[in-house]
Subunit: 87 residues, 2 copies
DNA sequence: CTTTCGTTTAACCCTTTGGTTAAGTATAGT
DNA sequence: ACTATACTTAACCAAAGGGTTAAACGAAAG
């Protein structure tokens, strides 16, 4: 995954909030939806952007789809930022 | 400056390249332009986005406008990322 | 097997974004 | 005072982004 894909995914506030939510534990798409004042379709699209960036992973559990955070790809961004900051 | 403004500014590859350039030292708008295959107007707009985000500062020197990196605002982004990664 | 529930995909609508060219502003040099 | 140089701003355009509603899909339950 490119740093471009990662940062683009991070550039929307709703998506960052979703990541913040998942920090405390995995949630189903529906549970995530409840937290935002937008349609399920909108959230579903955000989730797919985050998934394409590999910032989240999903697994189906029965009729639910559970999303979990994958923070490991943030490493690349951190490195770039650290380098930019110089030391 | 909000983290939103900062990340949005970072979300364009040309703007990130500009920041990378300025890491090695301050440059005039024209010198920055030379490095990119787009019009001066396009670069000027990128510079203004970076400036609004306080990621760069400018000072006029004669007929040149010199841009310098201001990496300090990256701290907030770093903190958010670090928190998300969970130490 | 049909229905219901959870979620995604399709089709669409605006707004934002990143580019262009052309015109404007500011400083330097003649 | 003019002209050239350095850069920005204005006006415009096509593409991308984030939202909506409605249709489709997958698994479970009746």
């Amino acid at each position: 995954m490119s740093i471009q894909t990662t940062i683009k995914a991070l550039s929307d506030p709703t998506r960052r909030q979703i990541l913040d939510l998942l920090k405390s534990g995995s949630l189903s798409a529906g549970q995530i939806c409840e937290k935002f004042p937008v349609s399920g379709a909108a959230i579903s699209k955000h989730l797919s952007v985050l998934k394409d960036a590999d910032l989240i992973r999903d697994t189906r559990e029965g009729k639910y789809i559970i999303y979990e955070l994958n923070a490991s790809v943030l490493e690349e961004v951190m490195l770039w930022l650290t380098d930019l900051k110089g030391e």
